[in-house]
Symmetry: C2
Subunit: 353 residues, 2 copies
């Protein structure tokens, strides 16, 4: 067991550094290959810059925690490499997502399609290249996982988890995209999108992947799901609140993006449900308005607060985090992992993430 | 051996039907899953319609031929399922490609981003959904391969071939996209793009995948490459000629697309190289012009013929096809597969494909 402190509790900061080291190592090899095959260097640079511009490595950490929780034995460094491959998968998802949402920034920097567009005469180049470089990040996530040095049985057990993960996240994104043009109070649909797009993808599948690599059976997976699904929901609800009320210097993306885009959050569905006619008119006029300015955003924030949508969302976050924590009580999981999973449940759902 | 005629020669039509049956089977299961999980039905329908609207199943056939060529033993039906997964990968590549190229039709029907855009109020929906449904086709290609029922050793051997395939095709597409704004006579660069985008992706990697599933070593792979790379080049050169001179009702895409898009083909580089000043002016004015009409296209075709670019490309096709066929002489591959590989070399490079 070569993770410092595993005997007592897991050191999440150290795990994060090991995940980053695995990514550096893999991308270093890809850079060498591109040079020796005389391939263009921009794709590698863009993917590497994107991966190291930020990110909390939530999915790789969840994967490693799943392995520890399921009492994984053997060489953790290979598990960490496999877990780190999820960060390249996430780069794929975010690069395509920013393109679909026309987001201008990500992690405090220009989004990939905009940075690629700069300095290129063809106005379509940025968007087309962002599609391809998202695809490349996905291709490399697969290659990194396949080449992590796992035992064949481990590797195969993980593949089926990731097959489910990929389908879930794409369906979640599709449901997020395919919304009716008018605002609705359909909280259940917004929760279903969260379930696929975040709860399964960000928490449940990574934990299951780690557990699969540890050889765990359906019982352990079911305990992990009881923690993962409410926590993932709370995580996304917090993200939605931060997208509207958060400090852009902390979140790395402008506080207007979600509102301009008209993202159909639970927060918004709750506001519609509890609006009077005048509040509803404000929501209809400003949500999804691409020219929304800070003044308009402030009006929306007032409606979100006055309708109680903000407070209700805070309450949901607390309820779901508590449900996640309760699922760990007496759970048949390794104690050091349990401590880390409790800490992560707080970290992912607090205001100052 | 359950392929009719294997004792004598392989029946390519029958193989193609088995590939389609495997795709039907897989997508039928996905449809059931979507229904039972109450997921939207459009993604499945779009992917299925795209896959069955046409396509010659070149990559799956190459994969199965690679398996036979390398004297594969055991259950071919699992190999056919694994091979068929390449068709879903190809759907992913084409859906994203059509979006990047703004192609309006594919296989004689509206391209995916346009068919999705129809009937949706949000003007961006078609493009965003096409990104996602391309991603979904890729996710399903992986799931189909992983679930083909291969032996663990077979499955793992195939993964490393597909890792290489995915990186190659994305780099090829990127190089195809990242061209200088002015026309050049750089035939070598155009050939390098073909190598990654077509020769490796369409012929070499599928053959290697089949050979890997048969347990073949580097010697067999190297013989297969000696056939695959020149044949893949000839295949793309034929495609480039058909894109300009072909009958749209046979190719399924308008004869103006490649010219309007300004695709940097070997054909075009040869024309630039052998143009006089007036011919060069015609090329510069019309290639890549989005408003090119049939009259302009006819002027371009005249320049491509008069400069000898068309005849030189025909000669290259013949030379490369001959090189591919020569590589099979005395090759240590199973004779029935050799016969089929010769037939395929002709079929892929003839005018009336």
């Amino acid at each position: 067991m070569n993770v410092p402190g595993y005997e007592g509790r897991l050191d999440l900061g150290e795990l994060r550094r090991q995940v980053d080291a695995a990514l550096e190592q893999f991308l270093g090899v890809k850079a060498q290959q591109a040079r020796s095959d005389r391939l263009p260097t921009v794709p590698l640079e863009v993917v590497r810059d994107f991966v190291f511009a930020g990110g909390k490595r939530v999915r790789p950490l969840m994967c490693v925690l799943g392995w520890y929780a399921a009492c994984g034995q053997g060489d953790v460094s290979r598990v960490i490499t496999a877990a780190a491959s999820l960060e390249l998968f996430h780069a794929f998802a975010l690069i395509h997502d920013d393109l679909m949402d026309h987001s201008e920034t990500r992690r405090g920097r220009p989004s990939v399609h905009l940075s690629l567009a700069a300095g290129h005469r063809d106005s379509d180049f940025g968007e087309s290249a962002a599609i391809l470089l998202g695809d490349l990040a996905l291709a490399w996530s697969l290659e990194m996982y396949n080449g992590a040095g796992l035992e064949p049985g481990q590797l195969l057990a993980g593949l089926s988890v990731m097959d489910a993960m990929r389908t879930a996240v794409v369906y979640g994104q599709y449901m997020d995209l395919d919304v009716t043009p008018h605002l609705t109070d359909d909280v259940d649909r917004a929760l279903a999108v969260i379930c696929y797009k975040t709860a399964k993808y960000t928490v449940e599948h990574p934990l299951h992947l780690g557990a699969a690599l540890a050889g765990a059976g359906p019982e352990v997976r079911s305990v992990l799901s009881a923690y993962a699904l409410p926590l993932g929901e709370a995580f996304q609800l917090r993200d939605d609140l931060l997208g509207v009320f958060g400090d852009p210097t902390a979140t790395g993306k402008p506080a207007l993006d979600d509102l301009r885009e008209g993202k159909r959050t639970v927060l918004l569905a709750l506001a519609v449900r509890h609006s009077d006619a005048s509040q509803l008119a404000t929501l209809r006029a400003l949500v999804g308005n691409r020219y929304l300015d800070e003044e308009g955003a402030e009006s929306l924030r007032e409606v979100l607060a006055a309708t109680g949508a903000r407070a209700r969302t805070e309450q949901l976050i607390q309820d779901q985090r508590d449900a996640a924590l309760r699922a760990l009580n007496g759970a048949p999981l390794a104690p050091p992992a349990l401590g880390a999973m409790r800490a992560v449940a707080h970290a992912l759902t607090e205001c100052a993430r």
